[in-house]
Amino acid sequence: MSDVQRRKYSQEERSTIFDGEFMPHIDSMYNFAFRLTFDEDDAKDLVQDTYMKAFRFINSFEQGTNAKAWLFRILKNSFINDYRKKSKKPATVDYQEVETFYNSDDADYQRTSDLRAESVRDMLGDEISNALNALAVDFRTVIILADLEGFTYEEMAKILDIPIGTVRSRLHRARNLLKDTLKGYAQSMGYATDEEED
């Protein structure tokens, strides 16, 4: 369990862990990478790099612990260190700023209170996907981890190296921003909302 007991894995054990615990997550890893980079080649490179790193540092993985969370953490760090820098896209909005801007919960709820569950369910995959992709990367990331991949707040805190309280508030803000976008779609599609004009 502890670092003291940790030993080096034999070649056979490494293969077992890699094939049995790491490779099964390739679909989720690719989906995450694609939603971070928006580019098939970059996503492919990012996943490959992540698996290479996972293999190189396999001795720091404790067998029986959450391999998926461990891999996602490596992927997220690789993205920040390697890809975000060279990306030609403009820098994303500093989320601190956004968090302050959207700090009024009651106002948030009033803004989106007329968005209805049924209109969300009727939306097309592309619309949902575009709404998610439109979020700044820090907000997009927490939604991906929580809703697409089902990580707990505690796992997310470890993957992102932030306190659980920050996970909770960032996720909350991310959802409000997402609802804003969805509400815009719902209105343009002519779904009944309070603001609809006839």
């Binding site: 390739i26 290479m52 569950a117 998610l132």
Partner: protein, 102 residues
């Protein structure tokens, strides 16, 4: 966590009616209630959460609507944003890279 989510679903199944005369139309503490509902939906069940949830869904229309909206959003994200097709040879090329690295 999956167990919690399953239990949450059960509670909701019994509350399908869109509106109910039992429910009040104003929520006195929107941000606190909604954040609690969101945590329950995320599987981060607080102590006594199921009872609280049941109570809110039964008695408060804004909480009821918010819960179902949040639930719908989680559902569509999960079902519509996870199907990015993985390039055919990705797994193979990773295995090859590992082989070469050995």
């Amino acid at each position: 966590m999956p167990q919690t989510k399953r239990r949450t679903k059960q509670v909701v199944m019994e509350n399908k009616e869109e509106s109910s005369p039992e429910r009040k139309l104003q929520c006195n503490d929107v941000s606190k209630c909604f954040q609690l509902l969101e945590r329950i939906l995320d599987g981060e069940l607080v102590e006594g959460g199921n009872e609280m949830l049941q109570e809110k869904l039964d008695k408060c229309q804004p909480c009821f609507a918010h819960f179902h909206l949040e639930q719908a959003i989680r559902e569509v994200l999960k079902t519509k944003c996870t199907k990015q097709p993985v390039p055919d040879k990705l797994a193979e090329s990773i295995r090859q890279m590992i082989q070469d690295a050995r």
